[in-house]
């Protein structure tokens, strides 16, 4: 029997760090052959096991989203889990990794062309006159004459 910690997670699945509220701890058995990233576990039915949407498997030292739950005979629930790769990597040093960001909320360059940037189909024409207006409406004549003066 392996131990599983049942949580409630209110964060978006795309959040790197999860804020968790522990509901209970429960013993589980793995259903058939199972994988590290998408295991299926069997747990006794309880209010907590029905309510949880996020778990931690001590065997694997990893956090998982609860993707689906199937109620079976014997007052048991089969939980289909999906590894939270972001939080698991975060707990294993992801923050120290060197990276290049394509987009960011805090470190960006507004002068980079941004194809996602929403722009209206119409613009605002602006006219700006030069500071001097040297041409006169009153025209004068230049007469060119052959020969010297």
């Amino acid at each position: 029997m392996a131990l599983m910690i049942l949580y409630t997670c209110y964060n978006d699945s795309r959040a790197v760090v999860k804020n968790l509220t522990e509901l209970a701890r429960a013993n589980i058995v793995y259903k058939d052959n199972t994988s590290l990233t998408m295991p299926r576990v069997i747990v006794q039915t309880s209010a907590e096991s029905r309510a949880t949407n996020y778990v931690y498997l001590t065997d694997f030292d990893r956090y998982y989203f609860v993707k689906n739950r199937t109620f079976t005979q014997g007052n048991r629930i089969i939980l289909e889990l999906d590894a939270d790769d972001l939080f698991n990597a975060y707990n294993r040093g992801l923050n120290n990794c060197a990276c290049i960001a394509n987009r960011s909320s805090n470190r960006f360059n507004t002068y980079l062309y941004d194809e996602k940037y929403p722009e209206l189909s119409y613009g605002q024409p602006v006219t700006k006159a030069f500071s001097k207006q040297p041409f006169k409406k009153e025209w004068s004549t230049i007469l060119t004459v052959a020969g010297g003066v």
């Binding site: 960006f108 940037y117 189909s121 613009g123 006169k136 409406k137 004459v145």
Partner: protein, 608 residues
């Protein structure tokens, strides 16, 4: 209002009132940090919003505050943001603190305290003797100088130049207000001689009188000198004082030169840039593109008039009529025919121009005959016409200010509308000059582009040359007239043809671009060629046409979507929404399958 003067080098200097006129909304607010039970009427807080077009006179503001405090017998120490402005995405402010205590009812103290980390400027006004015009002392506390710093790398950072607010009096120290002059003093009138020196703040004629012995203090270092040999393009030495610096991103390089610094300006460049549009890491060789400034051409020193084979007169309209009447009189025709034959043979051409041409006022002579009519004999065939300059401001402070989002074109009288490369002009200044052949009316418009923006672009060169026909030829003979009619028809066809041929294919491209994105708005030719007669009928004012885009930015766009980054660092450096381009997962002990899943999620965007 009485005038306050002060003496420099034996000459009296009379600064003009210190008045700002806003061209954008401002908010100022503050609170009283000196509550006292003994003065229950003290003000807890106040706020004021300045609207576009409002005028604030700092002197009058302080005067009204003083009178209000004195009437209410309040202890007051109000700090408020008098000015807020944005520079490259960072907000700056100018704060004033006004202090008053009824126990010293005739004294008002105020500070200009900002930005954080800078020393403050303190001034104390004593109103016990109104005749001393203490208020007027404020008038000369700010004089604005723009300096050209091309050879002083320590004096610039983040691509910005530095603006100096100078106080030419020893008691006024450490004025450390950052000001973007183009935004705060939009109505300012500058000296032509020294460009960015504002007339409203200082009389340039008096600058000659400033000497080193009357040096304002810089950065609070009492003995630090900041007097420089201030030279304009004529190399006239104009010593001046500098009290401190302010960052500034729009100065025209080369227009003002400052020589002979004997102050440690390296301190100035040590401030951390507050908003760097960092693109991350430079190439190993760095990037340094230095332009050779290409200025406006000089007029030719030799022309056809100097050969002596022809001469020309500039005729005001009334003179032209008198001369025409004279030339059609029997007197003139008979005289010339007797001497030389057909008088028309002596007239090489007549052209009308919308400009004044200088020369010597003399009797007009045709074929050796003195007409007894006065005209201006012009001495130079070519004339340069200065149309001044114009700023092309960035509004979005980002990529939408540039192509393809923003399009820039220019209307040139007698030439037409011509498209400019947005990158050449955006965030910079355009200077336009026409070069005109006075005898034929041919012209060329030359545009110099000056870029000294915060984007580290530096340019001060002529980039555009457009030719046209400014003059309208006057038919002297019947054959001239028929040729002219033909030219008019051809010119009209050319103008219309220019529009049609330019617009049709562009519209087709525009329709296609709608499918691929709204950024590619169609480019429409706004005119064909305007020359001669057609140009005469059109507008005479050169102007810039800028088509800025409108954004449709949803709320939370930055938080949920982020902006384009391409910035490198540790994953921990990023917060909020982040999409990863590349990441090195060394040290993260997970399986290969997990790494693939992780990369897929990081590249799709995550929240931190």
């Amino acid at each position: 209002m009485s005038t306050f003067t002060f003496n420099f080098g034996g000459k009296e200097v009379t600064p003009l009132p210190f008045v700002f006129k806003w061209d954008y909304n401002l908010t100022w607010s503050g609170d009283d940090n000196t509550p006292s039970d003994a003065y229950p009427n003290y003000k807890d807080e106040f706020s004021t919003v300045l609207q576009v077009g409002d005028i604030i006179d700092v002197k009058e503001l302080l005067r009204s505050k003083y009178e209000e405090y004195r009437a209410n017998r309040e202890i007051v120490s109000e700090t408020f943001t008098a000015i807020t402005y944005e520079l490259d995405g960072t907000n700056y402010s100018i704060e004033y603190t006004i202090g008053y205590n009824p126990s010293s009812p005739n004294i008002l103290t105020f500070y200009i305290a900002n930005p954080s980390g800078y020393p403050t400027t303190t001034q104390r006004l004593d109103y016990r003797n109104e005749n001393e015009n203490q208020w007027d002392r404020l008038e000369h506390m700010f004089c604005v100088y723009m300096i050209e710093l091309a050879n002083m790398p320590d004096f610039t950072y983040d691509g910005k130049y530095l603006l100096n607010l100078c106080a030419f009096r020893p008691s006024f120290w450490w004025s450390t207000t950052k000001i973007v002059i183009d935004k705060l003093i939009p109505e300012i009138e500058f000296h032509e001689e020294l460009d960015r020196i504002p007339k409203s703040l200082f009389d340039v004629q008096n600058m000659d009188s400033l000497t080193r012995s009357l040096i304002p203090v810089m950065y609070g270092t009492a003995n630090t000198l900041a007097v420089n040999n201030f030279t304009d393009e004529d190399e006239t030495v104009r010593p001046c004082g500098i009290s401190t610096h302010y960052e500034f991103d729009n100065v025209s390089a080369g227009e003002i030169k400052v020589n002979g610094y004997d102050v440690d300006f390296s301190k100035i460049g040590t401030e951390t840039p507050e908003d760097t549009p960092s693109g991350g890491n430079s190439w190993s060789g760095g990037f340094s593109a230095t332009s050779t400034p290409i200025g406006f051409p000089n007029l030719p020193s030799i022309d056809s008039l100097s050969t002596g084979f022809i001469h020309a007169y500039y005729l005001a309209p009334s003179v032209a009529v008198s001369l025409a009447n004279y030339m059609l009189s029997n007197d003139f025709i008979d005289n010339v025919k007797k001497l030389m034959g057909n008088p028309i043979d002596y007239l090489c051409g007549a052209v009308m121009l919308p400009i004044s041409v200088g020369g010597n006022v003399e009797d007009i002579k045709i074929g050796g005959i003195d007409t007894q009519i006065k005209g201006t004999r012009i001495l130079k065939q070519y004339t340069m016409i200065d149309c001044g300059s114009i700023d092309c401001p960035m509004l979005w402070k980002g990529f939408p200010d540039f192509a393809p989002s923003t399009k820039v074109s220019i209307f040139l009288p007698f030439i037409g509308v011509r498209e400019l490369n947005t990158n050449d002009v955006m965030g910079g200044k355009l200077t336009l000059k026409y070069y005109v052949d006075n005898l034929t009316g041919a012209c060329v418009a030359i545009i110099r582009c000056t870029l000294t923006s915060s984007l580290n672009r530096k340019l001060d060169s002529v980039l555009y040359h457009f030719s046209g026909q400014m003059g309208v030829n006057i038919p002297i003979t019947a054959s001239d007239y028929s040729r002219k009619i033909s030219n008019i028809v051809n010119g009209a066809v050319s103008a219309v043809g220019g529009y049609v041929s330019g617009s049709a294919p562009s519209m087709a491209g525009g329709v296609a671009s709608i499918v691929t994105g709204s950024l590619m708005r169609p480019t429409i030719n706004r005119s064909g060629n305007l020359s001669g007669d057609a140009g005469m009928l059109d507008n005479y004012t050169p102007y810039l046409i800028i088509e800025y885009p409108y954004q449709s930015l949803p709320a939370n766009y930055k938080a949920l979507n982020g902006y384009a980054s391409k910035i490198g660092g540790k994953f921990s450096d990023f917060s909020g929404y982040v999409e990863i381009d590349e990441i090195n997962l060394d040290g993260v002990t997970i399986t290969e399958d997990e790494k693939e899943r992780l990369l897929q999620k990081l590249k799709g965007g995550v929240y931190k």
